[in-house]
């Protein structure tokens, strides 16, 4: 009964690593799960198939490479996302962006270039092309990409 919400919370936290407010990391970060950065990072961040979120207190002087990058804090460095870059209102980004899609809120400070690169369409597998695109939004909580590891 009451154990259901706890299980959901546990599953979420297990799939997300967090660099806390009071933490500073100098070097290379490579992760196979989602990453929240609330502290300071200098170097590189790579999370190829996952999402990297730079929190409001996050300060990153690093290149960031991920499936999806969400920025609430400050980033100085190039950002590369396979899927989407999301720059929120209070964010400050100085660097070049390469991504397939971008969302930027009014008020965000951005200096750099934006290069939109649409992912190359995968060769169609006979018969199964239409159904996965419809099925994917129906189960967003399943976090399917993580299970590939």
């Amino acid at each position: 009964m009451s154990s259901i919400p706890h299980r959901v919370a546990d599953a979420d936290s297990r799939n997300t690593a967090t660099i806390g407010k009071a933490v500073k990391i100098v070097g290379q970060i490579y992760t196979k799960e989602d990453l929240n950065v609330d502290g300071d990072v200098e170097g590189t961040i790579e999370s190829q198939d996952n999402k990297v979120t730079i929190g409001t207190t996050g300060r990153v002087q690093a290149s960031v490479k991920a499936r999806e990058v969400v920025i609430f804090g400050q980033v100085q460095g190039n950002v590369e996302a396979i899927d989407k870059v999301d720059i929120r209102r209070e964010a400050k980004l100085i660097g070049d962006i390469t991504t397939a899609r971008i969302s930027i809120e009014d008020g965000a400070l951005f200096k750099g270039s934006i290069d939109i690169r649409k992912p190359e369409p995968k060769p169609a597998v006979a018969g199964a092309a239409g159904s996965p695109a419809v099925a994917a939004p129906a189960a967003p909580a399943a976090a399917a990409p993580i299970k590939t590891y």
């Binding site: 971008i102 930027i104 965000a108 400070l109 951005f110 270039s113 934006i114």
Partner: protein
């Protein structure tokens, strides 16, 4: 279960596109808006909306006419990053460079106009916003920022701009026609389509330099051509071909 799904769909829509969701929330979900922000913020937003207008722009039309049929160009947009401008330019297949010249001017010179004569500050300003290799851009959207620059800053900026523009590239800039006023409204410019702008007033700012057609031709003397369009809003829209 059904109620949960309804909530999920409402919140999901809100996070994807905040503005339309706010507009459509009048329909029924009055309890959803307090969760986003306090009542004061929505009041401020509603007053800000009144200052927004759309208007046609011959200068913008000419700018995109000159670039039509080409893709993969490098366009520098100095209005600050905005979703509309980025979407419009990237949908045309161009690479967008973004910077906020108004923010950088405030940061470097503050409100004191004499700061715009300080060579050290001018140098810092140019390095902070135009630190690109020579002949990088095929188009520069300067908007109205040049009319707030004093003569020294304006000349230095134009010199730097001609350096980072490719030969036969274009620059769009707006100047007020009214030379009797000391302050003119500053605007944010959002591209609606190739000939229409959504303009939002940012308040009044002192004009740094009174320009007319002849002084503009002199200012862009190194460039191949300067073309003027007079708009109904007392604006002189200028297209410069490097």
């Amino acid at each position: 279960m059904q109620l949960q799904e309804k909530f999920r769909s409402i919140f999901h829509r809100g996070s994807e596109t905040p503005a339309p969701a706010r507009a459509s929330s009048h329909a029924g979900s009055s309890h959803a808006s307090p969760a986003h922000s306090g009542p004061n913020l929505s009041f401020l937003k509603s007053t800000r909306k009144e200052l927004q207008t759309t208007r046609p722009s011959r200068g913008l039309e000419q700018f995109f006419f000159n670039l039509q049929g080409q893709v993969g160009l490098s366009i520098l947009d100095l209005a600050g990053a905005s979703q509309q401008n980025i979407d419009f330019l990237t949908n045309l297949g161009h690479k967008v460079y973004s910077a906020n010249v108004a923010y950088s001017m405030d940061e470097c010179f503050g409100t004191d106009p004499s700061g715009q004569m300080n060579p050290g500050r001018i140098d810092y300003f140019l390095k902070s916003i135009f630190d690109y290799p020579p002949e990088t851009f095929d188009g520069i959207l300067m908007w109205d920022s040049m009319q707030f620059m004093g003569p020294a800053l304006l000349n230095a900026t134009v010199e730097r701009l001609t350096d980072i523009m490719r030969p036969r590239s274009y620059l769009l800039a707006f100047f007020t026609v009214n030379d009797k006023v000391q302050e003119v409204p500053a605007f944010n410019f959002r591209i609606q389509d190739s000939k229409t702008l959504l303009v939002t007033e940012r308040g009044l700012k002192p004009t740094g330099h009174v320009v007319n057609n002849r002084s503009l031709e002199k200012l862009f003397g190194k460039c191949e051509s300067v073309k003027f369009f007079l708009s109904r809003e007392n604006l002189r829209e200028v297209i410069v071909r490097r």
